[in-house]
């Protein structure tokens, strides 16, 4: 049976125990706390334990999202994992997660659009539920970027971290609560700007080019995301953008007409850039903080490698 829309009903997240501070990094490369905080706004990030894989982080975040919503494995018939750092090509991470949590026979999909992966995945779950193909989906963003970080490159190794966030999505016939139509797209002509390639298996990016693109091109797209939800930017209760760099987040926010009460997620300060995990991670913490009222509109926007971008408005569960 098809429904008119879908909504996010619960959230969860997981971060590895190991904290890597800026002082720790100063012992590894030529850098210091003041330099890192002033350039990218990051104070610390979490690093996966030896042997801990993307799937292990995804499983813990998914388990939290199920528990927080009072769901069991039997309630889920679709699992989508957004990740750019899963090293295993087969099975995909969604199957690993489903097996670990005892989810019987879900549609199990991995998706790679780098830092916008979670928003692409959420849009696919929304469409699957609307058509009636899926009843209730687990949508996860999970990354072990520490495994694709060049720990000798002081310009990049200060940026990245590991973590995972997850949400449960189910059908609704209440248009007020439904996830808005996604705005998604890409800039394929800028494919070379952010790379993790076979011959150099570390994250390499043209920082100035990415910074210029993000701070000058994205604000109008974010306004369009709000428009698709029938809202103006100043009606949003919260804005959760990809946590790329605090100066990018603030640079984008400066160009948007948020009201003074709108909460702009800045989880990057304590988590670093976790690519596809950054939005669900920040969203889960924001929801659990109680700062946003249930039913209030939250705009999600991912952007990064590809270059790709995607966003939608959800209602706070």
């Amino acid at each position: 049976m098809s429904v008119n829309g879908s909504r996010v009903v619960s959230v969860g997240h997981y971060q590895p125990e190991k904290i890597l501070t800026n002082d720790d990094l100063a012992k590894m490369v030529d850098t210091n706390d003041e330099w890192i905080v002033s350039r990218v706004g990051i104070k610390e990030r979490r690093i996966a334990a030896e042997g801990q894989k993307v799937a292990d982080l995804a499983i813990e975040a998914a388990r939290q999202a199920l528990e927080n919503g009072g769901f069991t494995a039997a309630d889920i018939d679709m699992v989508i994992v957004a990740t750019v750092s899963a090293k295993d090509l087969c099975p995909n991470t969604a199957c690993r997660v489903s097996d670990a949590l005892g989810i019987g026979a879900p549609a199990a999909i991995d998706i790679n659009t780098a830092c916008s992966g979670f928003e692409y995945a959420l849009a696919q779950a929304d469409m699957a539920i609307r058509t009636g193909a899926t009843r209730r989906a687990l949508v996860i963003g999970a990354e072990c970027l520490s495994a694709v970080t060049d720990w000798e490159d002081r310009s990049s190794c200060v940026l990245f971290g590991d973590g995972a966030g997850a949400v449960v999505v189910e059908g609704t016939d209440d248009p007020e609560l439904a996830i808005s139509p996604v705005l998604w797209g890409s800039e394929p002509s800028m494919s070379d700007v952010i790379r993790i390639e076979e011959d150099v298996p570390f994250i390499k990016q043209a920082g100035q080019t990415v910074f210029r693109w993000a701070t000058t091109q994205l604000a109008p797209l974010i306004e369009q995301v709000a428009e698709r939800a029938g809202l103006k930017v100043n009606e949003l209760a919260a804005f959760v953008p990809h946590q790329a760099n605090l100066r990018i987040i603030q640079g984008i926010a400066k160009r948007l007409d948020f009201n003074d009460d709108c909460v702009v997620a800045e989880d990057i300060v304590y988590s670093g850039n976790t690519s596809a995990a950054s939005v669900p991670l920040a969203l889960s913490k924001l929801v659990q903080s109680g700062k946003v009222a249930s039913g209030a509109p939250i705009l999600l926007f991912g952007f990064g490698g590809g270059l790709t971008y995607a966003g939608q408005v959800i209602r706070c569960p």
Binding site: Q208, T209, G251
Partner: protein
């Protein structure tokens, strides 16, 4: 009418003050953005974007690295 070098430098000085908190008294042709004015690589992008808007010029990313001093930027904008 094209702007004079002094007018461009003055405009750059306003941008540097607003974007990167540079004291206008410190702005002179021979000053290096990085070494003298403490403008880091991302702030330099903000300066360039603001200069593009203010002076109606295009400064592509591959040119930004060549703009080492205030004088370099003034000359680039002067040529349009």
């Amino acid at each position: 009418m094209a702007l004079s070098r002094d007018e461009i430098r003055e405009g750059m000085s306003d941008i540097l003050e607003e974007v990167a908190g540079v004291n206008p008294d410190d702005v002179a042709d021979e000053k290096s953005f990085t070494d003298d004015l403490d403008v880091d690589s991302l702030a330099m992008v903000e300066v360039v974007v603001a200069a593009e808007e203010k002076f109606g010029v295009k400064i592509p990313d591959d040119q930004v690295a060549n703009l080492k001093t205030v004088g370099d930027a003034v000359s680039y904008i002067e040529k349009g």
